[in-house]
């Protein structure tokens, strides 16, 4: 296990900019095998996932009442990458 992982941090919001709490954010693909776990966004719509190695990660996001959203994130070794996910009904 990489002891200096990167981090994918971001926010989930609606099209009109409102944060989405308790949205489910998870990896759908990545450069290595990844833990099959899902994070829930907090009250500000924020989340942060560990990226064990550098590379391109696909993030999925679902929340009840919204269509699923996806994002592709490039992570450099040990660094934080930012992403924003916008959910539409």
């Amino acid at each position: 296990m990489n002891t200096n992982p990167g981090v994918i941090a971001g926010k989930v919001r609606t099209a009109d900019g409102q944060p989405v709490a308790m949205a489910r954010v998870y990896f759908t693909s990545g450069p290595v095998a990844l833990p099959d776990i899902t994070m829930l966004t907090d009250a500000t719509g924020s989340f942060s996932l560990s990226a064990p190695v550098a590379g391109t990660y696909q993030i999925g996001c679902t929340a009840d009442g919204f269509a699923p959203a996806m994002a592709s994130v490039e992570v450099k070794n040990g660094q934080k990458a930012q992403v924003e996910l916008v959910l539409k009904p």
């Binding site: 296990m1 990489n2 002891t3 200096n4 992982p5 990167g6 981090v7 308790m22 489910r24 954010v25 998870y26 990896f27 759908t28 693909s29 990545g30 450069p31 290595v32 095998a33 990844l34 833990p35 099959d36 776990i37 899902t38 994070m39 829930l40 907090d42 989340f47 942060s48 560990s50 990226a51 064990p52 190695v53 590379g55 391109t56 990660y57 696909q58 999925g60 679902t62 009840d64 699923p68 040990g78």
Partner: protein, 354 residues
């Protein structure tokens, strides 16, 4: 507080200042007239058990299978002889050529000493990514979640040390005990300040079906894992347990589990049902497929899963019994994987079963 289990025999017994009492206790622990379950030295190496509780003694048996229970309510989904569950709309898919090729890669190497099974088995080609749903998504929603075995599977709401919240899956192996992935109960090398370590609490919701909780929920802060995970973060030791303060498992029933040979596993169909994050909130989804390959620590398969299904049982149906063979933990390129129930894993599960 992270405290290792401390059963080490009478030499370290807290009663050592009273040698006579200590010796009597030692004799009782090894008396042949006692039941087959006995206190023995616990697994060492990466499988040395640890807990966030103060201390506990490990019970280890010589048997290699533990039976399931269907719970107090007799409603049970009949098992099929084909190794899969009888679920409307579900058909067993063939193992793909891609997963077979990957399985060959996985079995061609010695994985017992590798730290990152993902890198080892899949390689890190820069333009290739891994996915947990391979090809068409074959998962089927389980709606009859108050029937065994579905009710012995629990949706988990996890609160980490930094108060971040996560979802995962667990499954009963006894009245008080659920198995899950190690990274569900103990977060390692997250890169996020304040997050690493034992999670604060887990809300356990057996048989959850969306907003319906047929067996309510129980919250636990009593967890188990092993040093191979909590100390080294080694994927090969990614398993843990949740101990409930109530006997909810007596109602829901539990899975059996066992140690099986490579030949048994590679000829078997693996079944997984859990609570993925990419489906409507709190719904349970099932898939099954032939196990692609194994090594001494892992089981590989292309059963479709998604984030939130970490901790699910990978089980086979043997003589009508649901018998777990691995704990699902990772998504791979064309093959997902779980921690194999080896003899050391099995011994820890027996010790944790309550």
């Amino acid at each position: 507080m992270n405290t290792k289990w401390r059963f080490r025999g009478h030499k370290e017994c807290q009663l050592r200042l009273v040698p006579g009492i200590c010796k009597i206790l030692t004799i009782l622990k090894t008396n042949k007239r006692m039941p087959t379950t006995r206190k023995t030295p616990k697994p060492t190496g990466g499988d040395e058990p640890v807990t966030n509780q103060l201390e506990e003694a490990a019970a280890v048996t010589t048997k290699k299978t533990q039976p399931p229970s269907e719970g107090v309510d007799p409603k049970t989904q009949p098992a099929t002889s084909s190794g899969i569950e009888s679920v409307d709309g579900f058909t067993l898919q063939e193992v793909t050529q891609e997963s077979m090729a990957e399985s060959f890669m996985a079995t061609a190497a010695d994985f017992t000493v590798l730290r990152d099974i993902g890198e080892a088995s899949f390689g890190p080609p820069p333009d290739e990514t891994v996915e947990t749903v391979h090809g068409p998504d074959n998962r089927i929603q389980i709606t009859s979640t108050s029937i065994y075995p579905w009710r012995a599977i629990a949706s988990l709401l996890i609160t980490a040390a930094d108060n971040s919240m996560w979802i995962g899956t667990g499954w009963f192996i006894g009245p008080h005990t659920l198995m899950t992935a190690g990274h569900v109960v103990f977060i390692k090398n997250s890169g996020v300040p304040g997050r690493d370590g034992w999670v604060k609490k887990i809300q356990v919701m057996p048989g959850r079906n969306g907003g319906t909780l047929p067996y309510g929920s129980v919250t636990s802060s009593n967890f188990r894992s092993v040093t191979g995970w909590t100390g080294s973060g080694d994927e090969n030791f990614d398993y843990g347990a949740i101990i409930l303060p109530t006997k909810l498992g007596s109602t829901t029933g539990w899975f059996g589990f066992g140690v099986y040979s490579d030949a048994d596993l590679t000829s078997a169909v693996g079944n997984i049902s859990g609570y993925p994050g990419d489906k409507p909130s709190g719904t349970q989804w099932y898939d099954a497929r032939k196990i692609a390959s194994v090594n001494s620590r892992k089981v590989f398969y292309d059963i479709d899963t998604a984030g939130g299904q970490s901790g699910s049982a990978v089980y086979r149906i043997v003589g009508g019994n649901r018998m777990a063979v691995a704990i699902h933990a990772y998504g791979g390129a064309t093959t997902n994987s779980g921690t194999r129930i080896s003899l050391d894993v099995y011994n820890n599960m027996v010790a944790w079963k309550a």
